[in-house]
Symmetry: C2
Subunit: 248 residues, 2 copies
DNA sequence: TCGCGCGCTTGATCTGCGTCAATGTCAGGG
DNA sequence: CCCTGACATTGACGCAGATCAAGCGCGCGA
């Protein structure tokens, strides 16, 4: 759905992720903003497909709120999620005209979009955009490669722990670590989506979550709300020696 | 080993991959060339480790000849290859000071290196470099994500077929397709390296290669030389619906 | 020329996870 | 209130691929 107004809580350039964390490290978004009809907001419902693999890409943009996922599917239906897009993450590929993966709204979602052609022209005349995009793309590449280790070499239990650690870490950074060291968050994914991300079946995901719960690594409230009493323990379960953050 | 001379066959900027396929889409390498001591060549022997994960990165560069691989290793020794670097591929990450993965020379290798600091300064003043690097990084990201599907969802047989298809395709493009449609190449990897790339054990790699041979999908001359009578058949075995090339 | 070691193959057995199937839980709608 | 459908859990069973182990082929240095 195309939004006539900027979504509530997002005024002008100020809170727009393009400005803060994505393209516009030095406020090129202001300039984009001024170009009539280039920038617009759009909302999607959970489960809605935003882009089909192979489609023409009409826009690039970034996630304002909600979660989207990049997935690849084989003819026989096997699917693998290849990227999890969180608020401020960039979608699309300057210089390529057709999409390489499906993009699906995993939760209700608001995107901030730019028409592709003018954006590309903008990129050529405004060096900071390319430099900023390069940094973001390198971050995504690192994340993808870290995930390759998870997919290729970790056990089901370690996979689950890795996923929980990533989501937990991100949430801890967002909401500040709690005094008692506990980390708490809602899982934004169904068991099936987790399975697609981890290269498992949903049954295995469910079993391993139950096992982690039984062993006291996590606690559950309902199906989706996770409490991690000891983040270090969780990361140990994940077989994780990395610091997880981007150290630079 | 630091080379005093440019390696045979590589004169000035002309054949340097930085010029042709990597950073220097519009000949910035000429400028770099002029900066004393910034650019140099270096050779490594097969098996030699070029960079340890966590090390300070002193340089960025690109592969001139040979094959390098990016690998991640867990404390217990499980390792996953997260990238295969072929001639013209870029190594290193502007803006980050420590390496995130091990880089290992899989074959004898020659690299073309730039000292990192001056290269970064160069990038700020020469927009085309960042734009070129962005395109390359996006390509690598696509490759990494395609590989996530292989790691997460494909069977051992499909994994092997996928790897052979990638190498074969690349080689076919390089040496031009043969009239009879056969594709022929040498495997640049040991069975163990293939296993690390595919998230398998070397025994499984060996067995599946034998199986593909028995079924007539490939032929072998010695251990390493592969003949693919029918590339389409191989790609079918790989479960591959993608075009493989970058369509743009 | 021989022996040594490395890369590779092949066999036997084990096991983690996929598969199939039944059941549980909960929110929303009539 | 119950019915329905989406999501999740749990159990029984089988198989692809890991693990353990033995042996092969070939290049290389003594």
């Amino acid at each position: 759905m195309l939004l006539k107004e900027k979504p509530a809580g997002f005024h002008d350039c100020e809170e727009c992720p393009i400005r803060h964390r994505a393209v516009c490290a030095r406020c090129e978004a202001d300039e984009l903003e001024m170009l009539e009809g280039i920038k617009y907001y759009r909302s999607y419902e959970a489960g809605q497909r935003i882009i089909w693999s192979g489609d023409r890409m009409e826009f690039v943009g970034s996630v304002v709120s909600g979660i989207a996922s990049l997935t690849q599917t084989m003819e026989d239906g096997r699917t693998q999620m290849v990227g999890l897009l969180l608020p401020s993450d960039f979608v699309g590929r300057p210089g390529r005209s057709t999409a390489a993966y499906d993009v699906v709204a995993t939760t209700d979602l608001v995107m901030c979009c730019f028409r592709k052609k003018p954006f590309e022209q903008m990129m050529e005349t405004t060096p900071h955009i390319a430099q900023r995009l390069l940094q973001m793309t390198l971050d995504e590449l690192d994340a993808a490669r870290e995930w390759m280790l998870v997919l290729g070499r970790k056990t089901a239990r370690e996979k689950i722990a890795s996923l929980l650690a990533i989501i937990g870490r991100r949430d801890a950074a967002l909401h500040m670590a709690r005094a008692d060291g506990m980390v708490t968050f809602d899982l934004p994914l169904t068991r099936e989506a987790m399975a697609d991300y981890l290269g498992l079946t949903l049954e295995t995901v469910s079993r391993q979550i139950s096992a982690l719960k039984k062993d006291g690594v996590i606690q559950l409230e309902g199906k989706r709300h996770v409490i991690v009493p000891d983040m270090d323990r969780l990361m140990e379960e994940a077989g994780d020696d990395s610091d997880g953050g981007l150290l630079n």
